[in-house]
Amino acid sequence: RFFPNITDIPPWIKNNATSKAPWDAFNKFAGCRPGEKREGLSQLKQYFNHFGYIPNSPSNFSEDFDDELEKALKSYQQNFKLNVTGQLDDQTLQQIVRPRCGNADVINGTSSMNSGRSSSFHTTGHLHTTAH
């Protein structure tokens, strides 16, 4: 839908503006911590898989807040210059649900997004710089 000018946006669009964006459902995970099991976490893992933070693409992601999700969160928080907590805090969730480009942030398991540094995380959150 194209609107040559903001004044051209018809009323029915405005009335539908409260419809949920695809990732709004992730807001329900606020405060969710490692070790918990929540319905829908598999979809959040798919989100991180799509943008490269979880490298493998199994047929089914579990609903567990496991090490893989925590690791992905830390890498995501590093890339977006958020506090690296490994948890689904409000600041991180606000960033996750924002509209964005569909291209991955992490390609082939390597992110050079933050300050041009290639980096990877262990589950402890320590930064390790790779030679390439």
Binding site: F3, I9, A21, R100, C101, G102, I107, S112
Partner: protein
């Protein structure tokens, strides 16, 4: 700034690039002009040039609006969420989500609809991918991955310029500022 793995770029014998729009979209000249302006942001700082052509099949860069699954394994998801994606050099494919409420002109920050997305802002970002840039952690950079609806961001940041000039060099006419010849930064209310 970052690059795609392997640092793909348009080769030195392909610096004058052509672009074309998916005929089935039937875009108006006004919409096409948004992309012309977006390409200009990048040509201002590099030796690259961009010329619109009618022949979709022979153009270096192809631009199309699609909805849902459109055959490249990266389906769009309706209003908001994923707005667009683009491929690394020398694929030249730029896809935008046809379900978005794209604002072509006017001050998008004053839009009454919370889902209004500024077309040029997204176009400038995706062209960066077409030229070989990956995402940046610098929030002010065009290549930052996310953009809030009702936001306009079309000026290249230093981070974007450093990245693209590493790939292609500098436009000999570039004077070190991307804003002096434009009338962006509408929210400033001050000097153009």
């Amino acid at each position: 700034f970052s690059f795609f793995p392997g640092t793909p770029r348009w080769p030195s014998n392909r610096q004058d690039l052509t672009y074309s729009f998916l005929p089935a979209n039937g875009l108006t000249d006004e919409v096409k002009a948004v992309f012309t302006s977006a390409f200009q942001k990048w040509s201002t700082v590099t030796p690259l040039t961009f010329t619109q052509v009618d022949s979709y099949s022979s153009a270096d860069i192809t631009i199309g609006f699609y909805t849902g699954d459109h055959g490249d394994g990266e389906p769009f998801d309706g209003v908001l969420g994923t707005l667009a994606h683009a491929f690394s050099p020398t694929s030249g494919r730029l896809h935008l989500d046809g379900d978005e409420n794209w604002v072509v002109s006017g001050d998008v920050t004053k839009a009454s609809v919370s889902t209004a997305v500024d077309l040029e802002s997204v176009a400038v970002h995706e062209i960066g991918h077409l030229l070989g840039l990956g995402h940046s952690s610098v929030e002010d950079a065009i290549m930052y991955p996310s953009i809030t609806s009702r936001t306009r961001k079309v000026e290249l940041a230093d981070d974007d310029i450093q990245g693209i000039q590493l790939l292609y060099g500098t436009n000999p006419n570039y004077n070190g500022s991307t804003t002096s010849n434009t009338q962006e930064r509408e929210s400033s209310g001050g000097d153009p």
